[in-house]
Symmetry: C2
């Protein structure tokens, strides 16, 4: 929007803001791939259909995990299904992803992961070696993340009604006493940090599908984020306002969600966002902005300005954290929106993802 006159700019922003203040409606006649992509259509499905029908206070919070107090225990509970294809890809597998993805939803909610449940939907005809490899990957990832798989279920569907393996994991965690997180704690001036280079998981999956005839040395970043969260809680304590793991829809969708929830604005400096050269190259060829590409081992953290430098130092000392960076800050204006300062000095709106350029990424 660098080319717009200031008053025109303000008018456009105001129209977008009015549209966003309303809860999204769901009016689509059929489900499309976009409803699973984590962008606008997903938001409409969740806010327009699921939340109004299910209307529980925990669900309305729209966090990565629900907070529950049971007999004095401060618990967190989260669930995720995994339908990624292919089942194995550079840097990981569906089994590993199913553990780390759920563990990370707990971690960024400020909860130490304790236990997982595991539900498998297998397709008739699945090779038993593939199943064994995935179960081993689940066991290894769970051990590495320090969680136990405590309950499970297995269903089988006929050939042509699945795709090898779908996995649903649910994670139970205990809220860390150091964590005081929430969109309501954000304030103008808070710094936005990312824990490393972005867009690696989604790019690795795309390349692994081989449909693009593109080769590049990119691996999924799937890993447990609890050690990173633990470190951040030590380094920033009460100054740590909120975290998110930017999976489907990428950093752009996560920031938009938080901007909407907090009714604050965000300004991201494009030049400061860490992207590995191979990832940037693949994204450019594919015409996809890395800000919309899924991550499975990175988090965004909002930190009070006076603690941002300490938090960044701590992040950079973590494994795979050498590219951690401060990428922008929270602003009072424009409320509910994310702006990008481009490398050329202009500003544009960074909207939620529309459509599904990368189906079944997790």
């Amino acid at each position: 929007m660098a080319g717009l006159a200031p008053d025109r700019h303000a008018r456009v922003l105001s129209i977008i803001q009015t549209a966003r203040a309303k809860r999204a409606r769901f009016r689509d006649p059929v489900i499309t791939m976009a409803h699973g992509a984590g962008g606008k259509a997903s938001t409409a499905l969740i806010e327009g259909l699921l939340l109004p029908a299910l209307c529980s206070p925990a669900l309305q919070q729209l966090g990565d995990a629900a907070s529950l107090d049971v007999d004095g225990a401060e618990l967190a509970l989260t669930t995720d299904s995994f339908v990624v294809r292919p089942l194995r890809f550079p840097g990981g597998s569906i089994g590993e992803l199913a553990v780390n993805g759920t563990v990370n939803d707990l971690a960024v909610s400020g909860a130490r992961p304790l236990a997982l449940t595991l539900s498998l939907v297998l397709e008739e005809g699945l090779d038993a070696h593939e199943l064994r490899a995935q179960v081993d990957a689940i066991a290894a990832a769970a051990a590495s993340a320090g969680v136990a798989v405590v309950a499970g279920d297995t269903k089988v569907v006929e050939r042509g009604h699945g795709d090898g393996i779908y996995i649903c994991t649910t994670g139970l965690g205990v809220r860390d006493r150091r964590a005081r997180l929430g969109a309501e704690r954000l304030a103008a001036g808070d710094r936005i940090l990312v824990s490393g280079a972005i867009a690696e998981h989604g790019t690795a999956i795309m390349l692994a599908r081989g449909e693009l005839g593109l080769q590049a040395d990119v691996e999924s970043d799937t890993r447990s984020l609890w050690p990173v969260v633990d470190t951040l809680l030590d380094a920033a304590g009460d100054g740590l306002r909120l975290m998110r793991d930017p999976t489907r829809g990428g950093v752009a969708s996560a920031l938009n969600e938080i901007a909407r929830a907090s009714a604050l604005g965000m300004l991201v400096r494009e030049a400061d966002v860490p992207v590995a050269p191979a990832v940037a190259g693949a994204a450019e060829i594919l015409g996809i902005d890395p800000m919309y590409v899924a991550n499975e081992g990175k988090l965004i953290a909002f930190v009070a300005p006076e603690l941002a430098a300490d938090a960044l130092t701590a992040l950079r000392a973590m494994p795979a954290g050498e590219h951690a960076a401060e990428i922008g800050e929270v602003c009072a204006e424009p409320p509910g929106m994310v702006l990008v300062q481009t490398a050329f000095g202009g500003r544009r709106v960074m909207d939620e993802l529309v459509g599904d350029p990368l189906p079944r990424i997790c």
Copy 2:
């Protein structure tokens, strides 16, 4: 085995017992529908592949729900995927089943259901009205069972890689102080009760598919079992040894599982097992024993002999409990096996389900 001479009978039983004392091995090259049916192949997959790889103490218990102690809270956690077809059937729907099935796994573990997570795998092209109807069914069933849906996830797979809707629900409950349940608490002489007429859910599903050209007025029995469990805990207290909800694989598979786990025998009196005439008729035409047909709103309870009459009276006073019955008892011999006393006075082994006569029943 009524026709065998006593020594031959004893020899056959001994061979079967030796085979059972070993944990099942998993050697199948590919996954078949039988691995999802809750019978022998499922047992082999769980005991031969999943448990050895995932090896957590909670999982090894093989209960309907895992027991977890977190900061003094005594929790239960369970998960289930639902892939039933058709999505709606007389007496229920996949959404209703997904709530009640998971709530019931908590209930029969002696845990009061508190919260559910909900993960949807939707097939591209799904009619939005169908989705809305199922989400409404989930909301209604959750309200009726007194649980909140606290977290959720939605994924979409391409047309031809799903079947409308698959649902994974995970349930969190708090263990009831009155409940002291476990296979190790079973003793010879304990009575086996069922909370009502069996085989209704599976029969309703089969008939709803219309493949059999058979019409009968049979509805699924899907409902929350917590009120029944609550009543039984009051009526039998410490005399309530163990409960199970006989879903996939039916009463026969549930009894076999418990016989194996307790290393005790069971004798079931066939004539005392309550089966509605329409269900019995359909089963006879289909050549399926109702003992192997799934239930979604009935439980089996093992009760100390001196409290069995009180427990049965309490069960019969419950809604849909008028056909509750004592169907047999626990015996010292033959360990690990279930025998049936037929209506003609003979005895035969009632084995686990083999194959999958009724695929995708839940």
